[in-house]
């Protein structure tokens, strides 16, 4: 197996004939933090949707540990160990924080089909293990005090933490973060940066779309810049930062983001 855990090869995705991703390629190494930047509407979220199976790209290959995963349904992608957060937060708003995070334990739970009707000793053991794991994650993300609070009642910054905790609960190999700092204040962003480093230290590979340049430049080992669906630059942060093509793309676009 190659040193790359995820390889995207010449991927294109069209919407009604319009190109959203244009012949895009990138390779993500195991254990690294990989940044993706680009102006709004560049196709970054669409790329993540292609990796996680929400969309199937018309062209190209997506290789996970060398195996083609293009066209695989989202729940199977998650079972493979690729978990994500959403740019537009998608929590189960009426459900409590603990229940939200518990959804991440779904693929790790070993309950049998009949445990939905009848509980067995193995069920009780499994159930307890999973809830304890949820407890650990609530500690890690400082969410314990909100355990029973409906997720939808909490502030934006807290909701972003819940989404990360939920994805991490599934013990992913690859964690995909779509604008994790969007809507966060300065302190929250600093906390988030520390959190992401800790997650990397656990051995999780991270792919991240982020508009907060300071954060993405400090965290990422490698960055790909996308504009109009195509790669315009790629490299280590210091290179990308000074690349005239990148500066041009950002000046030429509306730099204010609506965080839609």
């Amino acid at each position: 197996m190659s040193e790359y855990i995820l390889e995207i090869k010449n991927v294109s995705k069209f919407f009604h004939g319009l190109v959203a991703i244009n012949n895009l390629s990138m390779k993500v190494k195991k254990g690294q933090i990989y940044g993706i930047i680009g102006p709004n509407g560049a196709g970054k979220t669409t790329l993540f949707n292609c990796i996680t199976g929400i969309y199937t790209p018309e062209e190209g290959q997506i290789l996970w540990k060398g195996k083609e995963i293009k066209g695989t349904t989202p729940y199977k992608i998650a079972e493979l160990g690729i978990l994500r957060t959403f740019q537009t937060i998608r929590l189960f708003a009426e459900m409590s924080v603990a229940e939200n995070i518990m959804s991440g334990r779904h693929i790790k739970s070993k309950q049998k089909w009949y445990n939905g009707i009848i509980h067995t000793p193995a069920y009780f053991k499994d159930e307890k293990e999973n809830w304890l794991k949820v407890g650990e994650l609530m500690e890690f993300f400082s969410l314990s005090e909100y355990a029973t609070t409906p997720a939808g009642d909490l502030s934006y910054g807290i909701q972003r933490r819940i989404e990360m905790a939920r994805a991490l609960a599934a013990e992913p190999e690859l964690l995909i973060l779509d604008e994790p700092a969007a809507g966060l204040n300065e302190n929250e962003t600093i906390e988030l940066t520390k959190m992401i480093r800790k997650i990397q230290a656990m051995g999780v590979t991270i792919m991240m779309i982020e508009h907060d340049m300071e954060m993405v430049m400090s965290l990422s080992e490698y960055i790909t810049v996308i504009n109009f669906g195509a790669k315009i630059s790629a490299g280590i942060p210091s290179f990308v930062q000074d690349d005239p093509v990148v500066i041009e793309a950002y000046i030429g676009s509306d730099e204010e983001d609506d965080h839609a």
Binding site: I54, E79, L83, R90, F92, M95, S96, S103, G116, G135
Partner: protein
């Protein structure tokens, strides 16, 4: 420590347990049917309230259970006890093969498809297609439950059998809610994209809800056929399906007390106001409209956050 809800539940349990001692046979029958309909409503709630599937053909599964018992008993001479397992398994089987091809449909399309199934089911019953269903008149002369020569003939026996069935249904609902399966249904209901992204197969859990819901409805159907010692098509038509659907939404989706309240309002109240003849349905329709406007999540909405106490230690 006991909260208000558990106290109400225990008071209700005691009342329901002693109910046959205070009432005449007509009201006893109303009580029994209330229990049976509650079980059907809970099974509808698994599909509609939990998995969030707009299923408006549930009377079909209720009817499949009832007709399974009726046919096996009257046409083939099986004792009622022996028909119980088939009356659960037959609806489960049909739920699996019928829901399979429509489960991916969007809410409104699926709703129309399930109504279609219900209509076809009634047509089959009325046309006596296999010479087994007795046509529009249905099947008469269904036996009583006999165990080792003991005859469970009286209305009081019937009531307590339905009472036990409701207990079993509640036990299953509680187990479901505290399992990976019940939770998966809620996640799908609240956000399909997020649920899938967490590794949950939408199709598997919606089908699971259908199959379990159909089995429970079938058990209730078997009980219903024995209570009236007869079955006929109109007890299982789309109007009945609409009633079960409405019970869940009026009472409160995925809420155990809500579904009981819904069954009470939609079934028992009309019985109480029987002397007002059809005018009582006016009140009934108004109640449905007003609930949806004033309490869109139902009279007793579901409350989430039932997590193990050892996770609540830090809650402020």
């Amino acid at each position: 420590m006991m909260n208000k809800t558990s106290m109400i539940a225990i008071a209700l349990l005691i009342f329901m347990g002693f109910y046959p001692l205070f009432v005449d046979s007509a009201w006893l029958a109303v009580g029994t049917t209330f229990l049976v309909f509650s079980v059907v409503a809970f099974s509808q709630d698994i599909i509609l309230g939990r998995a969030g599937v707009f299923h408006m053909g549930h009377a079909m599964f209720f009817g499949l259970g009832a007709y399974t018992t009726a046919i096996l008993n009257v046409q083939f001479g099986w004792p009622i006890l022996a028909t119980w397992a088939p009356s659960v398994l037959v609806p489960m089987f049909f739920a699996f093969i019928l829901a399979g091809p429509i489960i991916h449909l969007r809410g409104d399309y699926l709703l129309v498809a399930t109504i279609g199934f219900n209509i076809i089911f009634i047509q089959i019953l009325e046309n006596d297609i296999f010479g087994l269903t007795g046509g529009p008149n249905g099947i008469f002369g269904i036996d009583i439950v006999r165990v080792f020569g003991i005859e469970f003939a009286s209305g009081t026996y019937m009531y307590y059998m339905a009472f036990i069935l409701l207990g079993i249904a509640l036990f299953i609902m509680r187990n479901l809610d505290r399992s990976k399966f019940g939770r998966a249904m809620f996640y799908i209901n609240k956000d399909e994209i997020a649920a899938q992204s967490m590794g949950i197969s939408i199709r598997y859990y919606k089908l699971y809800a259908f199959v379990v819901g159909a089995g429970i409805a079938g058990a209730a159907g078997s009980m219903f056929s024995v209570q009236y010692s007869a079955v006929s098509p109109e007890a299982f038509n789309v109007t009945q399906s609409i009633m079960f659907f409405t019970i869940v939404l009026v009472g409160g989706s995925a809420s155990l007390p809500g579904v009981l309240i819904g069954t009470f309002i939609m079934f028992v109240l009309p019985e109480v106001f029987r002397e007002f003849a059809t005018a009582r349905y006016l009140v009934f329709g108004l109640a449905m409209i007003l609930t949806m406007i004033l309490r869109p999540r139902g009279i007793w909405p579901v409350r989430f956050g039932n997590i193990p106490s050892y996770l609540k230690k830090d809650v402020k």
